[in-house]
Amino acid sequence: MSIAVYFASLDPVNLFKSIPGNVAQGIVWGLMALGVFITFRLLDIADLTVDGSFTTGGAVTVILTLAGMPAFAALLIAILAGLAAGLITGLLHTKLGIPAILAGILTQFALWSVNLHIMGGWKGAANKSINPDQYTLLLSLRHVTKAILVGVVIAGVIIAVLYWYFGTEQGSAIRATGSNPAMSRAQGINIDSMKVLGLAISNAMVAMAGGLMAQYQGFADINMGRGSIVIGLAAVIIGEVLCDAFFRKGANFAVRLIFVVVGGVIYYIVVGVVLWLKLPSNDLKLFTAVVVAIFLAVPYLQKQARSSFKQAGRKGANIHA
């Protein structure tokens, strides 16, 4: 009986209504995921700075727009702030020998205080809202269709720039550093510089996404970046799985980048469905973590399925039997 009541309470119209908003958010998170893609896939570093730099981007954008700066100019400064955050993580890692993952955690931790100060001056503030009626923003949830369009255009431009950059001599050197550091050094690449550069570019992207998200939702909040590394990873992984399904690993770099953004959109549509099903939103993070863990484990488990000690042991036992 209760199941029937539950299903009767689900209104498909509500689901359809929620989709455009989720697509818009998904695109913004997809842009954030492009930053995660650069560190996680190209540099082979899991950079946790992003949880802080996403918020930094949002805080800087909102504060500067409130101060009268045009929204796009505020976003540019936010991008520079993210660049600086990545730079600090990179220097902690390469100049002071702190393991990359720990360097990211330290920067992220410090950014918590920095972000509070950005939003509230000396005293600090945990959030700052901006009224889309009083300020001209690039995108807002009041006009979802426009927000989607703006998101798609920005994503297109960013993907084009990244495609170009990682095809240049410098971009190739960054990719080589992630693929084989020893070889890169032997080819005369300063791998420390490449890591710093990659981390800076990545966090610049993430801060931009944070700035766009703050404009979209109409506020910056100290917690807005919490867990963004996991959401970014989810988008990267969903995108890769889809991309491989369509192109069988033959996809070129631009297509892979497009699918990262698509991964972000799909993630948010799934979130929308989960919420529509009235599953407890408190468990969303648990759900996301489980999904990401499963997808990260798949390549390893596939390898195990092909060859493992357990399997070898079984085969060996069969021979004796």
């Binding site: 240049t168 001599e169 410098q170 080589a176 992630g178 070889m183 032997a186 005369g188 690449i189 791998i191």
Partner: protein, 264 residues
């Protein structure tokens, strides 16, 4: 072309594992010299090559390549002068990148890497010709990821990459040791050809005494961080495996030990 002047290196100084790896090492290569290096495990062969390549700083002495004192330069700056092939075939190439991208990376060894294209159109044809020389059919797979190649193919590619931008010095660190005998022979032959065709100055470490005798114009034997034998020219051509074992015994101890150390 290369001057190793009284170089010292000790690992784990002040600990129970202290190891004096290079002791007053002095070696001078003329342009076009192709030196083969033999010696037992822990003799200092790889340490010598790593000292030249700049994997870590030396404790004393100096290293000069073609008149440039590189003692104070880190590995990636010395790379401008040096082409390298490692023992591990996986180490010399970037697996996630295409064959052509790997070649393009090697072409820019020692150059400034700016914002022009990583691989240009004209390079493409040039690399196709170079890959044909290997005779492995790689010229038809230029956009394949290097990770898909076999160890032998990767080592051949690494060799090609090391000489693509003519280095002052080619360092081969037991680069055939991890390959099967047939592939090893092929890669060795290719090494000879690349050294000869480009007139390179080269150092090759090997565990195989026959290879050490058959290749190059000069042979050195190392033991406990020192060079204990240095033979070149006609004398080297007449050298036999038995001679080497005898020479090693003369300088370094009894015959039994020699066999054990050299053949290990």
């Amino acid at each position: 072309m290369l001057d190793i002047n009284h170089v010292y290196k000790t690992f784990n100084i002040g600990t129970i594992n202290e190891k004096r790896a290079l002791i007053d090492l002095d070696l001078h290569l003329r342009e076009g010299d192709f030196i083969t290096v033999i010696g037992g495990n822990g003799a200092g062969k790889s340490t010598m090559l790593n000292a030249v390549a700049g994997v870590w700083p030396v404790d004393g002495g100096s290293i000069v390549i073609d008149g440039n004192d590189v003692t104070g330069l880190p590995e990636h700056q010395r790379a401008a002068f040096i082409g390298r092939v490692f023992q591990d075939p996986m180490m010399g190439t970037a697996p996630n990148m295409q064959i052509i991208e790997n070649l393009a990376l090697a072409m820019r060894r020692g150059q400034k890497r700016g914002l022009s294209w990583g691989v240009t159109k004209t390079e493409r044809d040039q690399y196709r010709e170079k890959l044909k020389i290997l005779g492995l059919g790689l010229e038809d797979r230029m956009t394949s990821k290097v990770g898909l190649l076999s160890g032998g193919q990767r080592q051949a590619l690494t060799l090609l990459m090391a000489a693509l931008r003519k280095p002052k010095l080619l360092l081969l660190d037991e680069h055939t040791a991890a390959l099967d005998p047939a592939t090893a022979a092929k890669v060795l032959e290719l090494s000879d050809r690349i050294v000869a065709e480009n007139g390179l100055t080269a150092m090759m470490i090997t565990h195989n005494m026959k290879d050490a005798i058959a290749h190059g114009n000069r042979l050195i034997m190392m033991n406990e961080g020192r060079i204990i034998l240095d033979i070149e020219g006609e004398e080297k051509k007449r050298l036999t495996k038995a001679d080497l074992l005898q020479k090693f015994a003369d300088v370094a101890g009894t015959q039994e030990e020699t066999d054990e150390v050299l053949l290990s």
